[in-house]
Symmetry: D3
Subunit: 285 residues, 6 copies
């Protein structure tokens, strides 16, 4: 057994040599479980009555919503505070000041919820209208992974715009793991968006997507270059209103614009802009 003791010592040593002393000492990583639990509260605030195991009515809805909102404010403010500690340190806004700053961001998110709900209902309507297999709005709200991905994205994107680091990525990877849909929190996505099936969809950080866009499984909206120096540039395409992108299509590049109302066929490979109303199909088809 003494060889096990030696192994443990060598693991402890490796904490110093690899990762550096800071990895175990830094105290401000947001906690993944807490972030996920906040997302569940937010989902219940946004679509009340769909996940409960008991019936809400008008009266209980008021209390349940109030309690959830307060819990989100408390718990998410704690996680945001952890994630911005470094930023606060630089700005001399440590301790309580940093928490207050984080809370302001979370309060702004709460204020945005009616607008987020409005847009998500437009997304659900687009799914119901765009999928012949969809039988009811309830079916869409209860079981469409594209809608779950958009719900999380619209929250993560809001926090990303407010400058919150790490947490939006934890959110986007959480829902990526559950749906196979990988939307970077930085991407901007318009109303009435419909992502069908969704597995393998990748939407990059600087994408700008208009309204009434349909995206099928395996679509990549990516970068042409992955050089680190590009980090602050627009590296991902612009998709204008009313575009449909079928399964497996790849659209790359920050200057690539897919013009309004275009249809991009499956398995296509696009690295240059196409004008509005284009119909692009794989040449092998």
């Amino acid at each position: 057994m003494s060889s096990l003791d030696e192994s443990i010592e060598r693991i402890l040593d490796s904490y110093d040599s690899q990762g550096g002393i800071n990895l175990a000492d830094v105290q401000n990583f947001p906690n993944r479980e807490s972030v996920v639990s906040v997302l569940e509260d937010l989902e219940n605030i946004i679509f009340p009555g769909f996940r409960e195991d008991f019936n809400l009515d008008r009266h209980t809805l008021r209390f349940a919503t109030g309690e959830r909102v307060h819990r989100v404010v408390r718990n998410l403010s704690i996680e945001v505070t952890k994630s911005i500690t470094y930023i606060c340190m630089i700005a001399n806004r440590e301790g309580t000041g940093c928490y207050k700053y984080a809370e302001q961001i979370v309060l702004a998110l709460i204020e945005e919820i009616p607008e987020i709900r409005r847009i998500l209902f437009s997304d659900a309507k687009a799914a119901l209208e765009g999928d012949p297999a969809a039988r009811s709005a309830e079916e869409v709200l209860l079981s469409y992974p594209g809608l779950s991905a958009l719900l999380v994205h619209r929250i993560a994107h809001f926090l990303h715009k407010k400058g919150v680091p790490i947490i939006p990525r934890i959110m986007s990877e959480y829902i990526h793991g559950r749906t196979g849909i990988d939307i970077h929190p930085g991407a901007s996505i318009g109303e009435e968006c419909f992502i069908d099936h969704g597995t393998g969809v990748v939407i990059g950080e600087t994408c700008v997507i208009g309204s009434r866009v349909k995206i099928y499984q395996g679509v990549t909206l990516g970068a042409l270059s992955v050089k680190k120096v590009m980090a602050d540039k627009k590296r991902h395409p612009t998709i204008e209103n009313g575009v449909t992108i079928y399964a497996g299509a790849t659209i790359l590049g920050g200057e690539t614009v897919i013009g309004e109302g275009s249809v991009i066929g499956g398995n296509t490979w696009i690295t240059e802009s196409v004008p509005p109303g284009s119909r692009i199909y794989n040449v092998t088809q």
Copy 2:
């Protein structure tokens, strides 16, 4: 803090303006956690001894099976009742009558289990024979996502055929989230089916798939048109017995038939029927 109170009021207002009063008041959404818990019981009934943390023998197997079957009848009947309330209302079969009707469906599912087991063992055998990396039937039963997806599909498909709404979709999206394999409950799939790796596979609502079919990751069996008016038509292809479809192939259209014994190469794009015995490869290969 009063701005938070205002935000809460505005969220409550938005429940009226978006989603309508019915979203919080309707009491009959099937509960996702209950449906998943029923699936776990069914998996243990179908493959006893693979998930338990203690050993079953002949004697305990009888009691454990009896208890699980009764629990499935009880819990799934409750969820089915919720999902068919509207149907029952129209048919004047509310209250206890509706529960009885739901229970009949669940009892029929239980009656079907020996047949479902027989087919799933044929699927497992196909995986063992079709994958050089598979070392034993136990390995297949314990770790192949394709088999998990087929297990859930064969249950969801049975309920779909019986006219149960929403619950089959909750089941199929549950296993889609865990395997990346998206099979619509409406699809008909024959015996000895082998889905390898599976991530990104999409099998549409009106697909008809024969026996001894192999499907690799990223295969789409989809529709050519997603117009809502097509909802009651056959929109997805027919795959005859003994067909193999390699990774990334896309086969579209309700009149498209892949003839018996054909091999469809990877990354191909097929929108028209091919005769039995065809060998179709991507022209770029």
Copy 3:
């Protein structure tokens, strides 16, 4: 209700006719929940401080690590013992002897952890350098699915090399289900590996991958033939140092070698070797 009793009897009968008596009586299946729980302990040993809900410091880190290592030795040895019972039986090393043999394997894994940590940090560095969207090492460690998949793979691969059956597959399918990245435990992967987005990636059993390789979503490194007789042959490609493989590329065959420093474009289909420094793009591009 008597028809339900009949259904239960028929299910019990089908346990004999399908699956055979052994399925319920065999006592040595590794338990999936236990294996997953061991993986969580190993993740906390490898990246301490990232998942805890309280702060570790130098002092508590020592105790927490010691406790976790001992728990892994105890719990994983139990699961490995189950998985090798048949092997032990043949080698006349049943009972305590078999447990000792299993424990030796687990102790060797523990001894390897500092080396596994060193390689995973090289992977994290590759992600940070290779993705313009990555803002910090913490973000990579907390949220990149490619890194989670490599962490599990490097453990599963070690056990696979030691001849442990089934458990490495349970591990690889667990993380496949969470990331969409399907790496067979048999695959050999060098340092500084970066798998971006990852959904739909398939890396076959006999792949040999060098250092500094980048792999994007939807890449398949597969076999040309899936005949069972090939089970002991090298069926999957060799990827040399410094290769980049963009999204959706398919590389097949055990004799296929992608030469050092090559770049393989998206959606390409490769079944023959390419020399070092090649640039291969889809002809439709």
Copy 4:
């Protein structure tokens, strides 16, 4: 093992011969866990902020209270419905009517809560003033078993007066098990009651206890006769205002009255009334 099978059969047979068929078939036993969970909600409604693991403020208190009250109405109404099924059956008020009747009782309990709170605060004040060891009101509310017993009793007594069977006894035995204080739900207890230490206290069904009464550990307020024919008679003593009863005293009989302001010494045995202002001590003292 076949002897075990025989044992199981004999146990099943004994369900018929002992307890009767009804014991397993009757569906309307209140569930002990649910009743205890309702008591915990009621305790949090009555003394908010003492058991929470997070801080309530004015705003969250409103939502938390509303949610808890609604949960109590829902869950306790279900349990009360079960307990009164037989009564409802006789009164032709089955099904929904019975639930409505149960709900009326629970709503009346909720309406009584401010009054129950007022009396419990008078009890807490009596403890603080009556025990030299008590340092603060917080200490009394957080740790005095006598106060916990009175809290549960005042709820159980209310339900008992409304004619609810069984549930008040489940409540009183629950707190008896935790405090050693056994107060029958039928007992009537005035304000500013202080039960110190409490272990072994027994207060019978038809006791009538005034205000400002102090009771120490091991005190029995019991019946002289335990003949079943006495069930509807007053069998237990009357304790007038301001009486103190020291440890181990036994006071028996339905016609026994302890006059106002009396002091009953420890280990005394009283079966006849004593006038106001009496001082009764054990003759051996």
Copy 5:
């Protein structure tokens, strides 16, 4: 913090100096949680339908009972094996042999259950008849601590007679903690026993109690001498059929016999035998 490290070292040192090396190394302590969980299963086997949160009917009762009985056999055999390791070691019956021996004891307990049920129903009947406050058999089964204590005692006593060490004491202390009724597993108690209120009742190891005995709170049936040399002698009294012992009575001594049908008044102190039909009251009464 280094003083904390020193404290930890001193605690570790004290494990050697106090308690001896064996306390941490001995592996065969029965686990308290497991024993309690077995008791809960046994309670559900003995009184099915009283604790469930769902309805049992004739069909599910069979499966539920079978499953519970098998679980008790498995789990209690493990705990009994631990408790008798030392005995087995002496008898050269280690390992599997010891488990078999333990299992024989547990199987005998299962065989005894119909008889235990019969006696417990006689106890419940005695409570219903002996307490004017008892309204129904259900109320007694659901809420009388005396019955819970007797249920556990009758199981613990069976194991004690079979020579199982420690586990019967764990059982008796478990229910002592919940009811305040302390019955040593060695005590022999006849049918139709009624223990009312129960707090503070102590019944010693070598008591022999007949049928139709009533015992009230605070009764001690104890020893006159607590000299260790008395360990194998009868040290506690004999209570013949039909005796009633009121609250707080103390009866001491192994040769003390309370003759049939006697009534022992409250707070009495008895150290010598009394003839059948005696009426003994406290002289101060």
Copy 6:
């Protein structure tokens, strides 16, 4: 339903009128669940190996102990900080300073543990020697409530001496609820103490108890006066070394001294000192 809304408003109003605004706003109540969880850790530190569900050996004991000690320091310091906020406020030692002060107290408790262990082993030895029914030290450690009560008391007493408010009372009431033994944290108790059966034992705040004292069930060591003005006086008796006090004895008064080696019979009532070597029996005996 509107009457329910009114009830809720009246409950909310009553929070202002009863209990005062502070009850919901004060943020510094120690959390009962946390305190209990700390006690469980301390019990495992003091008697390692008795409650675990897996085997500790020399190596794992070191890590487990280190981890538990650190957890106690962290969690108990948090609770102590809450309990002393008011004291800190007066002493101008708020915030971090207050936590540091709390931590000092907890570190001192940890330092005391070897001494607490030494004394508890002396208590266990006294139980083994003093109870003919005790078969082994393991039986005593696993199942004697007197030992559990002394374990908690010796911790609570240490904190009480350090001036920590409320938490010692939460601890003593927790174990009072589980054992029926009510020892005020202020009481001073010497080595080799044996409390047998224990239900109903009450030991007051200012008791001073020597070594080798035996106390049986129902013993009260109480005050003669419960006037609030006595709060800072010695109100409870002194028990010298080697005294035995049998069941139900009551000894009252701060100036009452039971001389060394005395035996106090059951059900006696003592309010004046007795010289060393006294034998006091109930006159009715």
